[in-house]
């Protein structure tokens, strides 16, 4: 007696998903080995966007590297800017004026909102609902307007400086930010009504690509992906830097609302909820921001003492860590950038076994990877 599967032998198919594919969020190539629609194995192949940022880092000065951090995670340039500034300040022991720290936190949290908006929008677009994507872009435009006002650019901000920020807040900026928050906060329940709790959407995400808490830690997941697995770990709270200890906020974790803890839906919901927390942080920061200078005195020919520092901060896509080795000259001796997305891709092959092709798209979207950060 032969089973139908034996009587009708099938062949596995090798499919190249990417580097040009609408939902790989850039130039990611996934080598799919599929049995019909079911994925037997999915190997990610990264590196198509490698720009040798670490090598560049060894050749420019500390201050000159700032615009390159814009290009690390272009959806969260502010966070990367600030992370680099904090890393170098830690290396050189520079005291930053408090107002500058507050400004950094404000722009970083605004950028977190805009970055999560893109994550939300592109994820829903990957799921086939194109409309929420444009709603999220609409909100992000407002953040971009704010950023244009503060630093003059809409994507590559280059706003932070070693020892502070490049410029003080423009007139009326805080009021405009408040206005934006008032406008934005009611949009989150609207998103939830529009799509988050849509039955089809839930079915697509619940119980798909579950990453357990142990796996998440072992594979080095960070940021929303780690919290989606139910690990309440947030660098802003657990390894506090800047003025975050003075601000109150919750760490959102995945709760297994509609399935197992750590599925795609949990990771998605963590981002949605984090936008709320960012709004909360922003309101407090706006209320607390002191007057004062925004840039510490840093010599033009800035030479930090020799030493090695690893500084990590909470970026929208996980922990962005700078491992800086200084030999006391104007250029970093070695600069290693540890990014959330890069490490996240490591777990991709493991969680995608046995899923369907449509789920691969969901997994890529729910990890919210961004290719410049992976390839650097």
């Amino acid at each position: 007696m032969t089973t139908p599967a034996e009587a009708l032998p099938t062949q596995e198919m090798l499919i190249n998903m990417g580097p040009q594919h609408p939902s790989t969020h850039g130039v990611l190539r996934v080598l799919l080995r599929t049995d019909g629609e079911v994925v037997v194995n999915a190997k990610p192949d990264v590196g198509y966007l490698h720009r040798a940022l670490e090598k560049i880092g060894e050749r420019v000065t500390y201050a000159q590297f700032m615009p390159f951090t814009d290009r690390l995670d272009y959806l969260a340039s502010m966070n990367c800017n600030c992370a680099w500034a904090w890393a170098v300040e830690k290396l050189a022991g520079i005291e930053v004026p408090e107002r500058a720290e507050y400004i950094r936190v404000i722009v970083a949290e605004l950028n977190r909102i805009s970055s999560h908006l893109i994550a939300f929008g592109s994820f829903t677009a990957d799921m086939g609902a194109f409309t929420p994507f444009l709603y999220s872009i609409r909100e992000r435009e407002r953040v971009n307007d704010l950023f244009e006002e503060i630093c003059g650019n809409r994507l590559t901000y280059n706003f932070a400086r070693i020892g502070g920020v490049s410029a003080d807040l423009p007139q009326g900026f805080l009021e405009k930010t408040k206005e934006f928050l008032d406008y934005f906060e009611p949009k989150i329940p609207e998103y939830n009504n529009l799509i988050s709790y849509n039955k089809i959407f839930l079915h697509r995400l619940a119980n798909v690509a579950v990453v357990t808490a142990e796996e998440a830690v072992a594979y080095g997941l960070t940021g929303p992906n780690l919290r989606g697995s139910g690990v309440a770990f947030d660098l802003r709270r657990d390894e506090p830097y800047s003025v975050y200890p003075k601000l109150e906020f919750n760490v959102c974790v995945g709760t297994g609302e509609r399935g197992q803890v750590g599925d795609c839906f949990d990771r998605y919901m963590v981002r949605i909820n984090e936008m709320r927390e960012s709004v909360k942080i922003l309101r407090q920061a706006i209320a607390q921001i002191p007057e004062g200078p925004v840039l510490a005195k840093v010599p033009r020919l800035f030479k930090p003492p020799a030493g090695e520092v690893y500084f990590r901060s909470e970026c929208p896509r996980g922990e962005t860590g700078f491992y800086v080795i200084s030999d006391g000259t104007v250029n970093p001796y070695r600069l290693k950038i540890r990014t959330g997305s890069f490490v996240t891709m490591n777990v991709f092959e493991k969680v995608t076994k046995g899923l369907m092709i449509a789920d691969i798209v969901a997994v890529i979207g729910s990890f919210d990877i961004i290719l410049p950060e992976i390839d650097r």
Binding site: T124, D126, M127, G128, F130, T131, L194, H203, A358
Partner: protein
Amino acid sequence: MEALARSLVSAVPAIAGVPLWTVTLLMMVLSAAVLLAFALTFGGLGSYVLRKVAGDIQVRIGPNRVGPYGLLQFLADGAKLLLKEDIIPAKADRFLFILAPYLVFVGSFAAFVVLPFGVGLTASDLNIGVYYVMAVTSLVVVGILMAGWASNNKWALLGGMRAAAQIVSYEIPVGMAIMPAVLIAGSLSLQDIVRSQGGLLGIFGWNLFHNPFTFFSFFLYFTAAQAETNQTPFDIPEAESELVSGYNVEYSGIRYAFFFLAEFGDMFVVAALATACFLGGWHVPFFRAEALPALWGNLLSLAVFLIKAFALVLVMMWVRWTLPRLRVDQLMRMSWKYLVPLTFVNLLGVSLWLLIFKGKGIPALIASLIG
């Protein structure tokens, strides 16, 4: 058609000398040309409306550059598609690759023949009309599968396979959901089905309000039909974000345009079928179009029919721009576990209702109670 020709010959003495078969043939060609023109115009304008609706819903403007309000955008697009290079992949199965778009287009266009556009406006009032529509629209799946296979592209193949599985599965709930209307009218002819829905304060004669089962039948039909036309919650054969563009990924130029037109044609066909079977077809509310002189009656009923059908098309677009996409296994589950059993239950319910109440619907019962 022959009867029509005979009446035309008797009405216009000038053409009495022409043989009857010539007149019949000419009229056939003429009606085909009219329908084709309608289908193409609808395909073009439909794409404009689709984008405009998308724009409105997505807080954008939509097409606005060509002509007033961008109305001529579809002409520009058509010209562009016509002039584009026609690419046939080197490793493609040329014959099937070329044949596929025509099959798809024929499948969707042939269904227009029996649609009851007005009191007397139908190209051919087949006595198996509903059956015919179901049959010719199935041709689409053959074309899509061919396109997917012949493209020699794995994404296209996946799209084709998905389409085959999907359309075949959804034929069943679609057919079952239309059956109540057929039962009530006692005929498979679409004109008969429409005629059975007249009277009773305009809208209460519609099958939609006949009894609770037909009410649900309409929504079941609409859902299943949405799937049959590959509209968004069920657009997995194209699934832009998964399969890039699915079965038509290798097509370009005019061949792609055929797929595109067929999709819009399908959209109109299912909307028109829903109108004819559940929304009273060309019946004008509170008014008897049949009583008017033939020309005015036809025009009025045509307008009403188109309004109803376009409204349904709009709703389809609205759904399309709201919902995310199902996964392929969920799509199958939805058909076999939800739609098929529910349509069967509905069919049973309608049959029992007709048996118990002797073919009368709720509005008719109430009317007879009142007197």
